[in-house]
């Protein structure tokens, strides 16, 4: 299927997000010459999603600046776009994808890049016009409409989506309350020093937090007008944004009988249980070569890395080297960059003074860095990423001392 593919070998990609938009480009970069079709259920060609909670909300990005590729890209690369079409079913025997409009597309190799959807609030009566989530441009436009000076936004969930939207909403003059079930922010995805720093920064910018708190009821006839917490507190609101995590869009894959386990299970090349079907991006659970375990990562860099692996396998190229997973988040004037995964660290080292607004948090296990979190400090991020990749043993006391140059520690 791979190196002997002829120019008639048809690749079809379902899902026009970061994974889908990049894998079609990479197939061409890697010399794949067969027909390539990209199916997306949104009307827009692939676009950058991270700015939706930031520049797009604040009105400083245009549809053109958000686009993953320029408008003429797909035509010049001989990639067929089928946008505004939801894929309904996959027939693996006839190798055919059925679309919602009744048409169908045949494939020789299929790539699923169907992404994830926002988890709904586990409460009754949440289907209201102003109870919102944020995954795509239409969601962002609804949220944008709900914001403005004096508007009251209640955010459920103190994760990245919630905090990025809180920062943008404050910039637009809205009043913001964040309700988080855990005792602190970013409980699953960032360390306490980072979470504490971000909480204080948001509070300085006027965001109020209800931590260790749960919503009991949402009030209002049709639209939500207030929420009451289990502890009795009550907040009036004009809109509610629910940012409590995402779940993989596996319906198509499950319907086709592909192996799934909180995500489509794939091998290192991103091949699913059907060798003709690959899967990439947020929807995937893949054995990570650097961690020896299967992971479902929700991030742009991970989607990009998986797109490279799938495209390389299909085009018959050597797989790329494994990359240290990394993430980013922008809030106010803060850039948070994280490399590595927070598994079983035994030592935490803070480098730099958080009060300066620029510092790094290193997590070590057995003397080696496994994760680094950097706020407004790219050198800490890139040095940490290199240390994670090399596995070099470092002295925590040196790492903690800003007077000891990072260059020497990394070398």
């Amino acid at each position: 299927m791979t190196s002997d593919h002829s120019s008639t070998h048809r690749v079809v990609v379902i899902g026009a997000g970061h994974g889908g938009g990049n894998v079609v480009a990479l197939l061409r970069q890697y010399g794949f010459g067969g027909p390539v079709t990209l199916i997306g259920d949104e009307p827009a060609a692939p676009y950058h999603r991270p700015p939706l909670s930031k520049a797009w909300l604040k009105g400083t990005a245009s549809a053109q600046s958000l686009a993953l590729k320029p408008a003429d890209f797909y035509a010049t690369q001989n990639i067929t776009l089928r946008l505004g079409h939801a894929a309904e079913a996959i027939d693996r025997d006839t190798r055919r994808v059925a679309l919602a409009d009744g048409s169908s597309i045949d494939y020789d190799t299929l790539i699923l890049a169907t992404g994830a959807h926002a988890r709904p609030l586990p409460l009754a009566n949440t289907a209201r016009p102003n109870v919102l989530t944020l995954r795509n441009m239409a969601d962002a436009d609804r949220l944008k409409h709900a914001l403005g000076a004096g508007k009251r936004l209640l955010i459920v969930g103190g994760g990245y989506i919630g905090l990025e939207c809180a920062a943008s909403a404050r910039a637009l003059g809205a009043d913001v309350v964040v309700v988080e079930r855990a005792a602190r922010l970013l409980e699953r995805v960032a360390s306490e020093p980072i979470a504490g720093f971000l909480r204080r920064h948001h509070e300085r910018n006027g965001v109020r937090f209800a931590l260790g708190a749960q919503i009991e009821t949402i009030e209002g006839e049709e639209a939500a007008s207030a929420v009451t917490l289990v502890d009795g507190r009550r907040f009036d609101c004009d809109a509610i944004l629910v940012g409590i995590g995402a779940a993989p869009n596996t319906t198509l894959a499950e319907g086709a009988g592909l192996a799934c386990d909180d995500g489509i299970t794939v091998d290192a090349d991103c091949r699913s249980s059907d060798p003709r079907i690959f899967a990439i991006g947020d929807v995937v659970r893949r054995p990570h070569p650097l961690y020896g375990r299967s992971l479902r990562l929700e991030s742009v860099p991970s989607a990009m890395e998986q797109a490279k692996h799938a495209a390389a396998a299909i085009a018959g190229r050597e797989p790329p080297h494994p990359e240290v997973p990394w993430f980013w988040s922008d809030q106010y004037d803060l850039k948070l960059q994280i490399a590595g995964l927070p598994f079983d660290a035994d030592t935490v080292v803070v480098r730099g003074d958080p009060e300066t607004g620029s510092f790094g948090v290193y997590h070590l296990r057995g003397g080696s860095v496994v994760t680094v979190e950097a706020i407004n400090s790219p050198p800490d991020f890139f040095a940490g990423k290199k240390l994670i990749a090399s596995g070099k043993t470092v002295a925590p006391v040196e790492l903690a001392d800003p007077a000891v140059p990072l260059n020497g520690i990394v070398a």
């Binding site: 970069q29 080297h321 980013w328 990749a389």
Partner: protein, 106 residues
């Protein structure tokens, strides 16, 4: 318009016309030039649009901002010549520039 040549790590050159005001990163993405990932789309967050510029051209380029300099501090032995291509904006002075793409953006 500036004629810019992107040289892949394997040595393959790609010469493209870049309209004035367009970043070299955008031009590379638009022409599907291998080796420029640009994960963050130009937000100066990811460092995956790195290129190396010949020292002789350094003076013709707008100087690195402090943030860009920090982003490039650990980009290897040629770090002094490294630039984020999202920060290199095409102008007549850049006509004829050749930039080298690294082996990987990881």
């Amino acid at each position: 318009m500036a004629k810019i040549t992107f040289i892949e790590h394997c040595g393959t050159p790609h010469t493209v016309d870049v309209p004035e005001g367009t970043s070299l990163m955008q031009a590379a993405i638009g022409h599907n030039i291998p080796g420029i990932d640009a994960d963050c789309g130009g937000a100066m967050t990811c460092g995956t649009c790195l290129v190396f510029v010949p020292p002789s051209w350094a003076e013709k380029l707008e100087a690195r901002s402090e943030h860009e300099r920090q982003m490039l501090e650990f980009s290897g032995k040629d770090a002094a010549n490294a630039r984020l291509s999202c920060q290199l904006i095409a102008c007549p002075a850049l006509d004829g520039l050749s930039v080298q793409i690294p082996e990987s953006q990881g």
